[in-house]
């Protein structure tokens, strides 16, 4: 084949100063499908607050309304040019501009996307929100960020943030003080007990089917409450399913975990937990109060399953680390004790 250096379309490069800035982003099949078939779906680049806390990701992510993708930057040593058509004029032929291709940008890296393993916004909300305690004390909140501002600062999708907000019974107060708060476990237990007492007194049947949040809200007596309405509502919402119906499973789990968080950070007797747990539940829910009803990652059992302890920071990984850490300490102490006795033996 003879060299046809004159054949083909002119190819040129814009000098670096004139180049545009593009990023190349790989699209996994589900995201591609979403963009092409539902272009009005909102997509956002998000990143979390800079933090060295375990479980908090400060890298950038891309979020659809309900899914989060981690972003990984992959470099290449190749020259990747982004080109567009252009009309070239041969030096002496202004009459017939030839269509050509021009490189207007160069990218030496591509962004790859991967799905997050088991995304939860819980650690981010716990790190970001000031607490409200059972004594009615609001932790100081200089930032006064709104719920949406807090979500914007969390590297997870809106749906994932909402789910964690609901699970934690977070609430937002308009004034005095203004802002978003995370109730402590004690506060939640206190509020729940009051709601239960009031609802039961009003004849609400928790064992019946299809009991809605609204139905309960309507009958409970608020006059003795020391806490904001928003917290009461958030507490009820935390035991509801996504349709606003009271869910026994969620309720049993939430009350058990909160009781464990209040009294079990250094371990408590399982029998003690079960007793308090049943006391804090509607009669028809009590049979479901069992250790097995709690998420496995939230607790550790010891002493022949007679003692239960709240997992470190509420995550299984931290619990395992805490466990091994305490064992190490025990070993060291044993050696020290042995050394001591050896000395005195002389």
């Amino acid at each position: 084949m003879s060299a046809q250096a004159d054949e083909g379309s002119p190819f040129s490069l814009l000098p670096e100063e004139g180049r545009q800035h593009f990023r190349l982003l790989e699209l996994p099949p589900d995201l591609l499908e979403l963009i092409v078939s539902e272009p009005s779906t909102s997509l956002h680049f998000k990143s979390g607050p800079k933090s060295s806390k375990a479980g908090l990701n400060s890298d950038a992510v891309i979020c659809t309304p309900n899914k989060t993708y981690n972003i990984r930057q992959v470099n290449t040593s190749n020259s990747v040019y982004i080109c567009q058509p252009t009309s070239h004029n041969d030096d002496d032929d202004d009459e017939n501009p030839q269509p050509g291709l021009q490189a207007i940008a160069q990218s030496s890296w591509t962004l790859e996307l991967s799905s997050t393993a088991s995304p939860s916004a819980v650690p981010y909300l716990k790190a970001a929100l000031p607490t409200y305690s059972s004594t009615g004390t609001y932790q100081s909140n200089e930032l006064r960020a709104s719920k949406q501002q807090i979500f914007d600062d969390t590297p997870l999708s809106q749906a994932e943030c909402e789910a964690a907000w609901k699970d934690l019974a977070c609430f937002e107060v308009e004034s005095d003080p203004k802002g978003c708060f995370l109730p402590t476990a004690s506060a939640k237990v206190q509020v729940w007990r009051a709601i239960l007492e009031s609802a039961t007194a009003a004849g609400v049947d928790f064992g019946g089917n299809q009991l809605s949040l609204k139905q309960v809200e309507m009958v409970i007596d608020r006059s003795d409450e020391d806490w904001p309405d928003e917290l009461g509502r958030a507490m009820l919402a935390s035991v509801c399913d996504h349709e606003g119906m009271i869910d026994q499973g969620r309720g049993v789990r939430a009350v058990g975990l909160d009781l464990l968080a209040v009294e079990g950070t250094r371990g408590m007797h399982v029998s003690e937990l079960l007793k308090k747990w049943k006391d804090a539940l509607p009669e028809k829910w009590r049979a479901a109060a069992k250790v097995e009803a709690l998420p496995r990652s939230e607790y550790t059992l010891s002493d022949d399953r007679k003692t239960i302890t709240l997992a470190g920071v509420g995550s299984g990984v931290a619990a395992a680390a805490a466990e091994s850490k305490s064992t190490l300490g025990a070993k060291r102490k044993w050696h020290e004790r042995f050394r001591e006795s050896k000395k005195t033996a002389k």
Binding site: G8, S79, N89
Partner: protein, 148 residues
Amino acid sequence: MPAIQLCPPAASRTSSGPNPLPQLLQTPSGLAIVEIQGTINSTLSAPQLGPDACIPLGKLSFPLYDASAPAQDTAWQKLVYLYVGRHQRLTGEVKRLAKPLAVVRKRETNVGSAHEGEGAEVMEIAEIIYYKVLFAHRPEPVGGGVEG
């Protein structure tokens, strides 16, 4: 940190001029990707730049491409030439991307519209690219204008 919106490709996007690429590589915005193993070094200084203030590289050609042939004929994709200057030629091929690439840029916002707050940054997908032209071989010398 504020969330930065990423807008989908504008349905109304068009290319700025006639597209010299084969149909398969053409996109609504005209954007395309050409990848070269190695780097292009230009020894041209500013006064030597072409009339559009660009660096002319050479010619891109698809010698086996026939626009009138049926789409199932894909043999042409295996041979692409990039003539660099008058004395070198790179040989490459058209490759389908395993994962399509979104070409993302910052959207130009009107300075006047402060509706979304000062400088709310918005990114947009300028195009989704499904194929690229890849030159993975070293350049070979070609005779300059002697044959043909």
